[in-house]
Subunit: 299 residues, 3 copies
């Protein structure tokens, strides 16, 4: 089973900018295509003051940094050229939904979605929405935000909606959730999102490797029960090292891919190809990661 | 408006060493020249025990690490070859002036300046002093240190003196200074330094982008009032990321350059070309930063 | 005096993985040989759940991550091809010996050593053991662990045993040890290890440079007194920078090599060539470090 989707991260919130331009992105899409990537997901349209395109609607709510290049257009163009599906990631204020004002976050994103549908909705590669607000444990407000946003997205443009939540696991949290508690909470969450979200791709880096299979099985089972398709977001960066975040050890990538395959997800995506697995990456160990990946997947 | 000056950082206090030798530095000076850099500024002659040359005067006060290469000579030679102006950065003990003993810091640097003037003063490229002790808020001792040092420097070799202070801004400090307070304090500081310092190049990375224009206008206005020329130190490294310090996102560089141009500074310098913007940089994203920089400045 | 030995680090506990495969390792052994490296030391057979080979004995005690490649075999093969001596580093649970259960750590390693001797003991390059549990100050349990382990190793395969302790120095510890206290404690430690350990290679990065010569002299003198050969582990990575751990400034490497030579050690080894000094390193500054190293050692 190969990785056939990748996030696109050029907002540079915690991952350093590669400083790529049009030519470098085109070259990287060629490399994605070469290893069979057919799906690209914009990690978010914007984060706080940073935007991927000069959005009229967002400007009503926030003061953006200057936008010099329309990355949505650039990514759509490349996705079209390479025959890929593009998922549009919504905006994350980094603020309202963390401060109890999910309705504001929702309002901003509803307007954004309308603008985006109007501006890019007819583009051939525009095949999905990515609800970028990351869920983890049961939280009524966050659930309302994502649920209501998905309904709105469906009404604006009825294409598949993807989410990529994370497990509150021991690799990142001092008070990790138990498997039982996780199952109970995600049963509730999926119940609320059933019929709204189409695809779930759990991140896999917060869970201890030896617990990953159990958590992944529960996630798959619950998603099945609520009619949601399961992908896996096999993270290609390493966590928990003195330098965060660098390309992952190929052995850790393989371990996680094997688990995802074992529990039966239908597709593997990764965060993300361009920094961590690409022969064009600014990190040389990414070049070797791709070599190892090609070897063990016989690509 | 282009960046026409850069600091030279080879003391490796918080920026990792590139481990360049004579050949690599010569190659990098060629690249500097190619994009129009005409001014190079030694960040400091030494920091704590690390020295850029085997200084007899400093050895009276500190126990230096072994010095294997005369970087001052090397940088002067390259600056001469490339027709650039070289500014000599003074010594920072990292100690005395932080511990209430500015007079000791002053004494050390007076002796150093004499030695340097004698040793390198006739070199063609030796065109300025850089008073390397970074000012920020009003502090009588620091002000005395820089003021008295500048008078001494002028008497030793009467060439322009540059300082590169920073704003106590919210990107770095939990209790940032207000614009009004900054204006009041720098009015005092510039009053004290008027006639002593010739050029001020404020660092621009500590200020929130949306406040940068206001702070920069105040800085420019005050410097004008006190007869000090304004340059801008447009930092080419990113702050506030999990990995400190890597090449800046080209969009952030452009934003800051545009602000500097808008408020009317006469020259843009950067900290610093060789790690963060050079095609020879040990960081691949620096290579792409230069490509973007060339694009947006039409170089 | 040249560096003629290096650790091999592919467990990726705190140093990011290079993601090298067979071909890349072969290429790097060529480079090691080219600069005169004749000794390679596996840093450890395993750390916590990560193993360098699919060990039957370790599986009785721990649940290992999947092992996809036999690194011990690969390293032995390359060492044989290049005419080098290979030292096998024992297993570090990262647990038992820190929690008062040194006997468990010992038991695990005894079984491992037997398995390893049986599996790889006849390999031509297998010329030494490396007792990987790092000693620093006097600790009865740790001393029993290393002492008893060494006796067992000798009885299994009687080849030289290397240890690489560290000084509890001010570069890493807030309450550094004094030279006198260090001397007193290591007199005890070496007394206990005399006749068991053959070679000691102190790490040199925890000690302030100006104290390094004194500590190194004491180490050499004590080792001589107890019939233990002295090497130096000249670390090739930089400590105490915002980014840990990157290739060291070549001047710091030279300073430390000069001290080691001055106090009379018989061999210089480093942690480690492949990340920090190799022309194949994922860090470009390592490529330049090798250039500088070749210059100052006239290699």
């Amino acid at each position: 089973m190969k990785i056939t989707g990748t996030f696109l991260d050029e907002i540079s919130h915690d991952i350093p900018s590669s400083n790529w331009g049009r030519k470098e992105w085109a070259k990287d899409f060629d490399e994605m295509k070469a290893i069979g990537i057919d799906t690209v997901i914009l990690i978010r349209a914007g984060y706080k003051n940073k935007l991927t395109f000069d959005s009229e609607s967002l400007k009503k709510y926030i003061q953006p940094y200057p936008v010099y290049i329309d990355l949505v257009d650039l990514f759509l163009e490349q996705a079209e050229r390479c025959g890929m599906n593009f998922y549009f990631g919504l905006y994350d204020s980094g603020e309202y939904w963390h401060k109890g004002d999910y309705k504001k976050e929702l309002e901003i994103n509803k307007e954004l979605a309308k603008e985006v549908a109007e501006k890019y909705g007819e583009r051939k590669a525009f095949k999905g929405w990515y609800a970028s607000h990351e869920l983890s444990v049961h939280d009524e407000d966050q659930l309302s935000l994502v649920g209501e946003l998905c309904e709105e997205l469906k009404s604006i443009k009825n294409i598949p909606i993807l989410i990529s939540p994370y497990v509150k696991g021991r690799m990142q949290f001092e008070d990790p959730i138990t498997l039982e508690e996780h199952e109970a909470q995600w049963d509730q969450i999926f119940s609320a999102l059933s019929g709204k979200v189409d695809i779930v791709a759990f991140q896999d880096g917060q869970v201890d490797f030896f617990e990953l299979e159990d958590f992944s099985r529960v996630n798959k089972k619950l998603a099945d029960q609520h009619g949601i398709e399961s992908w896996a977001n096999v993270e290609s960066f390493e966590r928990g090292m003195p330098i965060n975040f660098l390309p992952i050890d190929w052995r850790n990538l393989k371990m996680k891919m094997d688990v995802a395959q074992k529990v039966g997800v239908s597709k593997l995506i990764t965060f993300e190809f361009s920094h961590f697995m690409s022969p064009n990456s600014i990190y040389p160990s990414a070049h070797f990661l791709l070599d190892r990946y090609r070897e063990f997947t016989k690509l």
